[in-house]
Symmetry: C2
Subunit: 323 residues, 2 copies
């Protein structure tokens, strides 16, 4: 599987990790997604660096493009690749506008290429273990789900400072929480309300420092996503990701890389963690027809649309009802 | 301060605790709030048991009534007491309908008696410590607040099974979380959305097993309350109460009776816990004019109204906008 990398503003490490565990994957070259993007850190990590990704595609004729440029341009780059019959593994969010997302989905379906975005937090071993347990009925139907993403702000590129290039914190951070909820919930979302604010963002201009999302499911289950960049520099880890799923038979809470289970008839215990899996390796396998991807294209589009609805609700300060 | 107890379906232990620490408080008698209420457990704990609380009020002429009968009747009993010039310390929620609450508030103002409901979780030493820290600016303006109340279901009286006698889980459990948020937030609530379901309630009929509340503040801060009766019997403690407050300068999280602080320039640490305080003793002192109550009547009415709005939003599956 000949693979090229376009851009270095996201988690291209997933691609390198995939190539490590899957010898069928050959990463042959990289190029910036836009002229002003610095991909200097890829020098030495890939055999060839191009300055123009379209020329790279023409020359290399890859099977797979890994796309991780500035967030606003990733959908356009993916569409460009799809139109050349190249399978796309792209940074999330798959798109930062409804129109980009619609065109991306249409192009993916008409081109027939495989598509996956980096909804990679499904692959966290504690999350995989929790999902397996919930799917097997350990806690009953999930009636309330609480997701949290709390990040250290640290240093971030300037394109995070503008909605037009960044897309918003609900899209960049919240999509992981929404992806968990979509995956764990046993019923579709019928209503999203949300709020966000750039207040307290330490000079990051339009970038939202914190967001809250409320979701109502068709079966009357509910879910929340709490998102923020307030995790202080003094905290022990970069992120404080949490996922709590509660049902009549028990509660599972993923936190600090463990999945704690509370049940009625026994003491609290941690689930055995699932084996490490590589999202990119599995994407490559799905192209070869060897497996079904955990995060298929249709789910990626659905979850991205949920994130866009949530951003819309937050912008308008009104819920979005989904029929 | 001559004190009587009406009903034994709530937290009358706050009154006994107050009498322990404040020798001015004399609990002289008790009566059921309604004929079918069993107050047998108060036998021996108070000198005299009456069968009719109105006769008790006529005979004893108390300074204070502690009211904790079935939830639907507490507002009416308080109004009866207020009309006799008796100060009221009542179980929360202060009322389970807007009309009861309006009449209660009107009667309290016209009668001039002191009024407090058992919003006692403000008095948890970790919560008091966290509030003091937030008030003093330790974490900056709170931009996102997440509250959780998760209870073991255990055995509960039959009147929990009907909305008309119970009021709803948002009112019974959620009011504590809303009280925290109201107290910690530095801006008024302008929008409440909510959801609740009785699904998975182990046969408790109309009683909601889980609820989620979304709050938008005027200053664009946001808050969530996650409420459930799903805490399994196997868990170590009855409740899993949490309150997380995040701002630009740091995060405070109250959990398991401690208040953990994360700041940018130091390692995580627990706040020194505040000294134990008795809500009922302080209520008695406020009557004597010796102190200002932490939970004044106007705040009780405001928070109860928030809970009623949240229940309305959950029932209608539509946000309530508060002007």
């Amino acid at each position: 599987m000949k693979t090229v990398i376009i851009g270095n503003s996201g988690h291209v490490n997933y691609a390198f990790r995939g190539a490590e565990v899957n010898p069928d994957i050959k990463i042959c070259s990289a190029a910036p997604g836009i002229a002003e993007e610095d991909i200097g850190k890829l020098q030495g990590a890939v055999p060839v660096i191009y300055t123009d990704y379209k020329k790279m595609l023409d020359r290399e004729k890859p099977d797979i493009a890994v796309i991780a440029s500035h967030f606003y341009i990733n959908a356009s780059i993916a569409i460009e690749c799809m139109n050349r019959g190249i399978h796309c593994f792209t940074e999330k969010p798959a798109a930062i506008s409804f129109s980009d997302l619609d065109l991306l989905e249409k192009t993916q379906k008409s081109s027939g290429v495989k598509f996956c975005a980096m909804h990679a937090l499904r692959y966290e071993p504690a999350i995989l273990a929790a999902h397996e347990a919930v799917k097997n009925g350990l806690i009953g139907i999930p009636w309330i789900i609480n997701a949290q993403k709390s990040y250290k702000l640290g240093t971030r590129p300037d394109f995070f400072k503008k909605r037009s290039t960044y897309g918003g914190t609900i899209l960049w951070v919240g999509i992981h929480a929404l992806d968990w909820i979509y995956w764990f919930s046993q019923s579709p979302v019928i209503e999203i309300n949300a709020g966000h604010t750039a207040a307290g963002n330490s000079g990051f201009s339009e970038m939202e420092s914190s967001c809250l999302i409320f979701l109502r499911m068709q079966n009357n289950a509910h879910a929340s996503c709490s998102l923020d960049y307030f995790r202080p520099a003094g905290a022990l880890t970069h992120d404080d990701d949490r996922l709590r799923i509660a049902g009549e038979k028990g509660i599972i809470e993923v936190r600090e890389k463990n999945a704690l289970v509370l049940l009625h008839d026994q003491k609290p215990f941690n689930l055995p963690l699932s084996a490490e899996r590589s999202i990119f390796s599995e994407f490559a396998e799905s192209i070869a027809g060897e497996s079904k991807l955990l995060t298929g294209a249709d789910e990626i589009f659905t979850v991205t649309r949920l994130a866009l609805y949530a951003r819309e609700a937050a912008d308008k300060k009104q819920p979005v009802f989904i029929s």
